[in-house]
Amino acid sequence: MRNGQDWLSSRTFHHSEFSDIQALVERKRERGLSISLCFPTLNEEATIAKEIVIVRSELQMRYPLVDEIVVIDSGSTDRTREVAAEFGAKVYLATDILPCIEPYKGKGENLWKALYVLEGDIIVYVDADIKNIHPRFVYGLVGPLLKNDDTRFVKAFYDRPIALDQKTVKPSGGGRVTELVTRPLFSSFYPELAQFIQPLSGEYAGFRECFDTIPFPIGYGVETSMLMDIYDRFGLEAMAQVDLDKRVHRNQSTVALGRMSFGIIQTFIAKLRASGKATMAGELYKTMIQFELEGGAYRRKESAIDIVERRPIVELPEYLAKFPARAGKA
């Protein structure tokens, strides 16, 4: 494996290495950069207020590290958008962004559309379901980007206790899809990327060009696809990972994780084919088949998971009209 242990040791950081936030603010000023934080949401009223409060108080009002906080919502039916706006975030409904193009629903769609509304040179994506939000989730991610000129993309990893209910936290058990699906796939086809401790983590940051020059699957698989594309385009040396310690989040059922795995596998194979690393005689089936036990009998449940991919947003005329400096960067 190329760059084996060297990359792991030289490009793996701990958030505490970047806890001097004032130094990061100064570095940001020196380099003339701006930073946008994006929370993609779907029914996150239980956690979004606290996430915004912590970032606003610590990383905007106390230390002006983050220039804007933006919530891109997939169409929450709870008070997510109202709460987020009340606590000072810019809030967008994904369908209201670029209304001239056909809308899709999914986290990848939110992340992709966010690029159109976010103004920053550095973009930080943080999932909105974190119960133990702390400023380190942001400064830990932007630290390597600000301090190391050659780092363009940073991915988070952490301990992943899962909250089973209000009182019970299981100390391990997160990352099942990583260990059973993504890492085996990466080990087989992209061994360099198998060094990412948590390739599916929802927290990452990078310079705008890392995101606007790559395609985005609209649903499951966006994180996997992103790593492969950034690796292909910028190389492993431009990538880093940071340990954010513990992240507490909601648990997901095995059935839900099964659908997620299906989406990741579909995305992965599509990218393999596109890159020429694999060929297939026919097309993949797009339906995940699962079974539920109901009234003592198994009932077949089918989930159609179509892999739709947004082309790099830098190819979109509307995007170039807003960010003319990005012209010709595709």
Partner: protein, 377 residues
């Protein structure tokens, strides 16, 4: 500004607070609280106090220098401990106008209000004639066994404050300027070693003591009461308990009435000790006296005025906590609350955010009033 305050409540409240255990014979042996004390110290330093120090017990103290150095300082303090400590990590949540989390009202929100002062005062451009001392006092909880540490904290202060504001989580509108006489004590019943006719079960002995306490005729004036608050004993279903412990609290509006009650309880314990041939210890965890700053004291009246000017309902009642130690030392002091909340000692303790913003305004108003008036008294 509200984000700064809320951020501090969340960040401080999620730092674990431990207050030692009931079984601990040496209250100084527990140092677990230091994590929150250290956080408080780091934070007030970062938020811009002029000096940050700690007393010999490790209680953090931030100094904001006043314009007239000759004036006695104003002490603003809050206990750092939370009586309710859940197993595992602590996570707070914000839901609309409500903040939720264990230990919130007792006393993360009060401590966070004090911790936020350097930042809030600076942003509001507020300066004081008196030097302001911001203190977090750790290990004050657990049935007030360690209220003695408040006394030690006050002993360690180099300069006697001209006024003190004790900040509690709740309730907003609260004003304590006088204290009741209180004794909190543990009655420990133990089988006497080698005694041939000692009763086999200390829970039964403890029960007999409780029965006798309940038979006491207590005066309605001065108002006097006994509360049996805790009981513990035994270790196995089928084995008679060799020890039992009863935690009681005696309260009275009169020091003399409380002394008389204590004497009667000592008599009861003597009687049971001899009749049942058991060892009985009476361990006083905290003894507070009845004392008062007085309604007409400028600090009292200024605090009442601030509360009423903010449109809050003034709620005056006696303190049964650390206020006594301040007043006993001749330090004019009041206790106020900064938020309206519920379920103080539950997992889902909660507080209204709007009330906290009023509470913060109230705290600053009382500080300004103390700076203008009370310190001159």
């Amino acid at each position: 500004m509200k984000e700064l305050l809320l951020g501090n409540v969340v960040l401080l409240g999620e730092v674990p607070s431990y207050a030692g255990t009931w079984q601990s014979d040496d209250e100084m042996s527990s140092v677990d609280y230091s994590v929150r004390a250290r956080f408080f110290a780091d934070r007030i330093g970062e938020l811009g106090v002029d000096e940050c120090t700690s007393d010999p017990l490790g209680n953090p103290i931030g100094i904001i220098k006043g314009g007239e150095p000759g004036r006695p300082p104003i002490l603003v303090c809050a206990e750092l401990d939370s009586l309710f400590n859940p197993p595992g990590d602590i996570h707070y949540a914000i839901d609309g106008d409500t903040i939720i989390g264990p230990g919130l009202m007792d006393n993360a929100i009060g401590a966070a209000a004090v911790m936020s002062l350097p930042d809030v005062l600076k942003r509001e451009g507020l300066a004081f004639k008196s030097t302001i001392m911001l203190a977090g006092i750790a290990n004050t909880m657990r049935d007030s066994k360690n209220l003695t540490l408040v006394e030690r904290f006050l002993e360690s202060l180099g300069t006697k404050p001209g006024a003190a504001i004790i900040v509690k989580g709740g309730e907003l509108g609260r004003l304590n300027y006088f204290s009741e006489a209180v004794v909190r004590a543990d009655i420990l019943c133990e089988r006497r070693p080698g005694a041939r006719q000692s009763p086999p079960n200390m829970i039964i002995v403890a029960n007999e003591i409780i029965d006798r306490l309940l038979e006491l005729e207590l005066p309605q004036k001065p108002e006097t009461a006994v509360t049996v608050g805790m009981i513990r004993g035994g270790y196995k279903y089928g084995t008679p308990a060799t020890t039992a412990r009863v935690g009681i609290e005696l309260r009275s509006t009169s020091n003399e009435a409380l002394a008389a009650l204590s004497s009667r309880i000592a008599g009861i314990l003597d009687q049971v000790r001899h009749e049942r041939r058991v060892d009985i210890e009476y361990d006083v965890a905290a003894a507070l006296g009845a004392t008062s700053l007085g309604w007409s004291h400028p600090l009292t009246s200024a605090t009442a005025a601030v509360i009423q000017e903010l449109g809050l309902e003034l709620n005056v009642y006696p303190s049964v906590s650390e206020l006594y130690y301040f007043l006993q030392r001749g330090i004019p002091a009041v206790t106020i609350g900064v938020a309206t909340g519920s379920d103080y000692h539950q997992e889902l303790a909660s507080a209204s955010l709007r009330s906290l913003y009023s509470g913060m305004a109230q705290l600053i108003g009382v500080m300004l009033a103390a700076d203008e008036e009370a310190a001159d008294a």
